[in-house]
């Protein structure tokens, strides 16, 4: 069957402000001490009033600009009303018809074809407050549910993409690129485990039949996606589910009575399931939306079971009765603050990839690895590249040696012991053929292990000292080499015989032995001399 996959994402990102969106409470992830970051305003106590946090708005503008959105000159706050225990005012202050930004795009790299990019449209990005968190009893003893309002009032930017994503993998790539961009900007830490980046996905299929017709399957919204893998896995699952649903029922998006479904995804079992609950009449509990063109099913994603499940109880929440919040004044945004913020924006990952490829003549793959490690790592690479004057060499070392060390030590580049000046100093010695690459690796490992190399200068001295102590300086004195090579050949008659019988590989072990004796020897030269001697 011929079909295309249509996916759009709704992403919620918590902003890295000191305080919450409408009160002075700390904005910190603090699940171990519930209800300590609260005040009358975020508790929604009677008579309390919200006051907008200017820093949150600034970070939101930064996000909008980085997503190439149009920034609205006039934006306002609306109340989105529904009842839930984690929402103490029974409404969420959000932005409905006049979001602060709209109509932008984010460029992603297509994994299938490295170096090729695609622009994913951004419908809108708006600012809103987060809700608290309901903590349900998991002991099975039927204890009361509890509510933690530490998170309540945390500033969130909701980013809604156009349905431009054509595969689950593209959706994952988009989300990764968005995370990278927001972390580059410093507007969010985008930690999916802690919930500072959350994602809902809307998906359906366009089925192309043999007679040239095209049909759209009902739209499904999958909720609770809290890992990158989950986004991809649940969408892959949902594609298969919709195909089999189409084959079974032939139901289309514009059929009467078809509405958006919300499903949940169980990653452990890789299937969609219907959430167990009251009134088990149907997996699909439809809810009314005002605009039938928006009809879709809402489903939750269960990461433990690996399934999406149809969400119940949405009937009550279907009409949010949005209206402008009379406790807050609208925000007018003039050109100056926008220009000011624009001037402080860093280079975006996509621009950086392009520039690195051109400036340092790197492969798309290397650039992608470097840039996706985050802004500080890419800065590190660039410092090393400029310091040693060889981009390719810097890229090799950063993507292999440095990354390996970071992974082994579970460190970020900010806490990596070798400053870029030190690494570029070391690589400079390789470039001028003062030491071999192998020697440089040995020095590299020593430097990291050594506590003396805290300062740049100490580290640079240490490089020279290690080269001297260990005799790593490249030896090009053929007289000394000739003596060692002669001795090695004498000690290894079997290897020599093998080589002379045509076994090219035999020379390798001989090179190794020579190198052990003369550390600074140039392996190419050793090879050449050995072959001459044996030949």
């Amino acid at each position: 069957m011929n079909y295309s996959i249509i996916i759009g994402l709704e992403v919620h990102v918590q902003l890295l402000t000191k305080t919450k969106l409408f009160c002075g409470c700390l904005n910190l992830f603090n699940p171990d001490n519930p209800n300590v970051q609260t005040c009358p305003v975020c508790l929604g106590l009677p008579g309390s009033l919200p006051v907008m946090n200017g820093e949150a708005f600034r970070l939101a503008l930064k996000t909008g600009l980085a997503l190439k959105c149009d920034i609205s000159q006039f934006t306002k706050w609306d109340r989105k009303q529904y009842y839930y225990p984690d929402l103490p005012k029974a409404y969420q202050i959000s932005q409905y018809d006049l979001p602060f930004s709209h109509d932008g795009w984010l460029e992603i790299e297509l994994d299938a074809k490295p170096g090729t990019t695609k622009k994913i449209g951004i419908i809108r990005a708006h600012l809103e407050e987060d809700a608290g968190k309901n903590m349900h009893d998991e002991s099975g003893r039927g204890l009361d549910s509890r509510v933690d309002l530490n998170r309540c009032g945390t500033p969130l930017v909701e980013i809604v993409s156009e349905p431009d994503l054509r595969s689950p993998q593209e959706a994952k790539t988009f989300l990764e690129e968005l995370k990278l961009l927001l972390r580059y900007l410093g507007v969010s830490d985008c930690n999916m485990q802690e919930g500072s980046l959350r994602c809902d996905a809307n998906i359906n299929l366009h089925i192309h039949t043999d007679d040239g017709h095209q049909y759209a399957t009902p739209i499904v919204e999958i909720k609770n996606l809290n890992s990158f893998r989950g986004v991809e896995a649940s969408l892959q699952y949902e594609v298969q589910r919709q195909i089999s649903e189409w084959n079974k029922t032939g139901r289309k998006l514009d059929d009467p009575g078809v509405e958006k479904e919300t499903r949940a995804w169980d990653p452990n079992h890789g299937v969609i399931f219907s959430q167990p609950g009251k009134k088990q009449a149907s997996d699909y509990r439809y809810f009314k939306l005002d605009d039938p063109t928006l009809a879709k099913e809402t489903r939750g994603w269960d990461p433990n079971r690996g399934v999406t499940f149809s969400q119940r109880g949405k009937e009550e929440a279907s009409d949010y009765r949005y209206f402008p919040d009379p406790d807050l004044v609208p925000v007018t945004v003039s050109a100056e603050p926008i220009d000011e913020i624009r001037a402080t924006l860093c280079e975006f990952p996509a621009d950086r990839r392009k520039r690195f490829r051109e400036a340092y003549d790197l492969s798309a793959y290397d650039v992608s690895v470097i840039v996706s490690q985050g802004r500080a790592f890419a800065d590190y690479f660039e410092d090393v590249a400029q310091g040693c004057g060889n981009g390719k060499q810097a890229a090799n070392w950063c993507t292999q040696d440095v990354l390996r060390e970071l992974n082994e030590r579970q460190r970020t580049i900010e806490r990596f012991p070798l400053r870029p000046e030190v690494l570029s100093g070391l690589l400079g010695k390789v470039n001028t053929q003062a030491i071999t690459v192998k020697s440089a690796r040995e020095v590299f490992v020593e430097l990291i292990a050594d506590s003396e190399t805290k300062t740049e200068q100490a580290a640079l001295w240490k490089i020279d000292r290690l080269i001297e102590e260990r005799g790593l300086a490249v030896v090009s004195d053929t007289g000394e080499l000739e003596a060692v090579i002669g001795a090695i050949i004498e000690k290894n008659p079997k290897a020599v015989a093998d080589f002379q019988a045509g076994k090219q590989a035999a020379v390798g072990s001989l090179i190794g032995q020579v190198m052990r004796d003369v550390k600074g020897a140039d392996p190419k030269l050793v090879r050449q001399m050995l072959i001459e001697k044996m030949g």
Binding site: P40, L43, G44, L45, P46, G47, S48, L49, P50, V51, M52, R79, Q81, Y83, P85, P88, K89, A90, Y91, V147, D290, E316, D319, R321, F323, P326, D327, L328, V329
Partner: protein, 480 residues
């Protein structure tokens, strides 16, 4: 001269001269509350010891020659819709019977800063919804002039407290007339401020875009003094305007020269009680005799004010009151099946009939498919009403009108007729829609001895003009 019959300004002067202490004054009012409030029902909460303690502190500071505030030692009654830290703040609702806020309303902070003595919390219509104080979940308040009649509402407790000389001054809130109408019914002065003049922080919200806190007092100068103490910018209320507060109490006695008083033709229509009409016409005569120019103006959209008001106020109320769901604080039903049922039972049992009526009306008006026809349309009408006033104030300085169509009605008389009850606010609520200030001053009595009020309205932030114009009339009438 008795303590309880004195004005705030007189009491302050006697304390400053050392003739009287705040403890004596506070004690006298507390005694009157004890002996008379059983009959009047103005107060929901009185903490005698706390009030006397506050009074003694102020006395000690004054005696020691230390600086004291503008209201130093004056008892002030506070409508039970404003949060007072550590005291029950119930909004006269079962829903908040047990609610004790951990913070003060901004206005209460201001009262404390100016060294007022908080003498008690006054009765009101539940969540300030009503025009007779009969919607209180806890008690009935009677009109001190005739205990068979209502004191008006929703700040009926505050107006009755001042009229019955249980306090020289009181704080009320006004969303559609809730200060001015009870002030008129009880024969005291009540002022609704310009929207944004006084912080709403800690005022339990009924309709956020209409609610304002304001003073009630037994004379215009007392209202001026109390307003001066509570007005001004508060960064905790985004809608509170940052502009200087004039010293109303210093200028209140200065008459306005060349005052132009507007009279609205649309106000004198069927339904207006003849005695009220003649009292207002007589008041206009007083202004003419003082050299004012009285001229007719038009407010063409005034007739839509009641409809627009009840849509906007109820819509906002339906949202503001949604938080009372039994989850975090306040009343929770005892019996329920699940979460949804807990919400329904809690709100069904916790709210009174009028509150539920308005929540349902507002929920309906904000619902998808009705929003444009009701809420959005009402906002447009509101704009037109504001434009009417802006145009009118191009040619007049203040607008004079009745406060309400009739003097105080009988307790129970309108309970089964919500629409007739709503119409008792017909002259006051357009000031809330337009955001302009209005004042109610006593303008005589009906044949059966019930007070009749005169309303004056002024352009935004012209409270000073309003108070001076009201004082001109008050002095001439010799009421105060």
């Amino acid at each position: 001269m008795s303590i309880s019959g004195a004005t705030a300004v007189e009491l302050l002067a006697r304390m400053e001269r050392g003739d009287l202490s705040s403890a004596e004054i506070t004690g006298a009012f507390l005694d009157r509350i004890q002996s008379h409030d059983e009959q009047i029902g103005a107060f929901l909460f009185v903490d005698r010891d706390a009030a006397l303690g506050q009074a003694e502190q102020v006395d000690a500071r004054r005696k020691a020659g230390r600086r004291v505030g503008k209201l130093a030692g004056l008892p002030v009654a506070v409508k039970d819709v404003l949060c007072v830290k550590g005291q029950p703040t119930t909004c006269a609702s079962r829903m908040l019977r047990s609610f004790v806020p951990p913070y003060n309303a901004h206005v209460v902070d201001r009262l404390n800063t100016e060294d007022a003595v908080l003498i008690g919390k006054t009765n009101m219509d539940e969540f300030a919804m009503g025009s007779s104080t009969e919607n209180s979940a806890f008690k009935q308040t009677c009109n001190p002039w005739n205990v068979q009649c209502t004191p008006g509402g929703s700040s009926g407790g505050s107006a009755a407290a001042v009229a019955a000389e249980l306090a020289p001054m009181a704080i009320g809130s006004d969303t559609g007339g809730s200060i001015r109408q009870p002030a008129g019914f009880c024969g005291v002065v009540g002022l609704k401020t310009t929207y944004g003049r006084v912080s709403r922080y800690g005022l339990v919200a009924f309709a956020s875009s209409l609610d304002q806190v304001g003073p009630l007092a037994n004379d215009v100068a007392g209202a001026a003094l109390l307003l001066e103490a509570i007005a001004g910018h508060d960064p905790r209320d985004s809608t509170c305007v940052d502009r200087p507060v004039p010293q109303f109490s210093r200028t209140v006695d200065e008459p306005l020269r060349g005052l132009k008083v507007g009279v609205v033709k649309e106000h004198f229509v069927e339904g207006l009680d003849p005695e009220v009409e003649s009292a207002v016409l007589a008041a206009l005569g007083v202004y003419r005799s003082l050299g004012a120019d009285v001229r007719e103006i038009r407010l063409p959209h005034a007739k839509y004010a009641v409809a627009a008001y009840y849509l906007i106020a109820s819509s906002e109320a339906s949202s503001n009151l949604a938080r009372y769901d039994g989850v975090h604080y306040g009343f929770r039903a005892e019996k329920f099946d699940d979460l949804i049922d807990m919400y329904a039972a809690t709100r069904g049992e916790g709210f009174g009939e009028e509150v539920k009526r308005r929540i349902m009306l507002g929920t309906y008006a904000l619902s998808a498919g009705y929003y444009e026809a009701y809420y959005l349309k009402a906002l447009k009408v509101r704009r037109l009403i504001r434009d009417d006033f802006d145009r009118a104030f191009e040619s007049v300085d203040v607008i004079a009108s009745p406060v309400s169509p009739t003097p105080a009605f009988k307790l129970g008389e309108l309970l089964d007729d919500p629409l007739a009850m709503y119409l008792s606010d017909i002259y006051t609520l357009s000031a809330n829609l337009a955001g302009i200030p209005g004042i109610s001053v006593p303008a005589g009595k009906s044949g059966n001895g019930l007070p009749i009020g005169l309303q004056l309205q002024a352009p935004p932030f012209e409270e000073e003009r309003l108070l001076r114009a009201a004082r001109m009339f008050e002095r001439e009438k010799g009421e105060g």
